[in-house]
Symmetry: C2
Amino acid sequence: MTTDTVAKESAVELPLNGGTVRMGAIAKGSGMVSPNMATMICLVTTDAAIHAEPLHALLRHAAHRSFNCISIDNDMSTSDTVLVLANGRSKNEIHPGEKDYRIFCDALTDFCQEMAKRLVRDAEGGTKCVEIFVEGAANEDGARRIARAIGNSQLCKTAFFGNDPNWGRFLCAAGYAGVDFDPTDINLWLDHVQLVRDGQVANYREEDAGAVMKQKEFRVRLSVGRGTGHAVYWASDLSYDYVRINAEYRT
Amino acid sequence: MTTDTVAKESAVELPLNGGTVRMGAIAKGSGMVSPNMATMICLVTTDAAIHAEPLHALLRHAAHRSFNCISIDNDMSTSDTVLVLANGRSKNEIHPGEKDYRIFCDALTDFCQEMAKRLVRDAEGGTKCVEIFVEGAANEDGARRIARAIGNSQLCKTAFFGNDPNWGRFLCAAGYAGVDFDPTDINLWLDHVQLVRDGQVANYREEDAGAVMKQKEFRVRLSVGRGTGHAVYWASDLSYDYVRINAEYRT
């Protein structure tokens, strides 16, 4: 049994010094599916000539910034899987420390992020995919913890569903993320509309903020003024259909 | 603005060696309320003659096992407050190490648990109060982490709402709680109905399990066979009304 509603697949060509490298991916997942955890799987293939060990390191890097940065519900699965297979057919050898390695790393990360977003766009009962960008944290990990707290929050998710520019819920989730910052340093935007400036309510029109949230995709940007750490998360909303799908799927 | 629907207050008399001690409490809270976090507050009063320092220690003990063990949504508030005031009018002096101290400690904990349950019973959109009892963990903290994972899980909360004896969701949440146990040691009950025996699906009738979940209050009991650590948590369910209250409260 699956609640996926669209095929999630992608392919890119990557021009490197040594030639062209191809990457493809297919994924499934839109929530946890009962009674067995069918959950999420993504298979990435590439014809890059790269050894297993550096490829594994790159996949960890990419997954940490993509599949580990999405929230459909707050239910981590025990059986989520991301695999990458490289057959070397491009003959383009990629070694750690070289320029192509960094380009390949960025491309793999972007590619995984795109696939992760497709999972969120197909979330059970989801009506939108919200990008949560946190900057100005002391480090990347702190930024990610704040973004995750917002992305996992039931109250933020219902605010997303209700098109409600409820900055109080976003800041509250940031506050309980366990990351140190000064509330007076907070700046918050919904796309181009600034809701909070230096810890105070900014001068904005409620209808402008509401209009941003009515879009299928928009960005919550939160700056906490501590350092240069930044991270991004993608979250679906919490809708009546999420409850219906997960409470009444047997009936 | 508040979404509380019932007054939450309680009083008890406690016979101790030195005489009778009274305890009273009032509380508010049923979810986080926008745009400011009105959230939860509980005021406990007693006429016990106890110094501030041991009283504070007892309140921490009690709150850790009551107000910190409930899940309406997964949104911890930044402004939850529990206060205890003791005016000493009973003349009954309570000192650490004495028998009355332990009795008072247990009574305060029970009292706080009762108030905490009243908050859950009045949860936003909640239709039931589920007690999650975890036993057999290596220690109390591990048991509480498992209970919390189940109580906070959107998928378990929708299963509660849908009267769905979905043992897979309960075990999955236990699995991602970050506590070590062997799946083959798992036993799971809904009240008297055993769903999982030694890691295998037990011989039970689906309608019996469903009947347990149709009650306004029931108990999920999970045994993980590692030690003597146990803990309890109380959770509301996730309903259409929760989404309505938090997504459409302005309209």
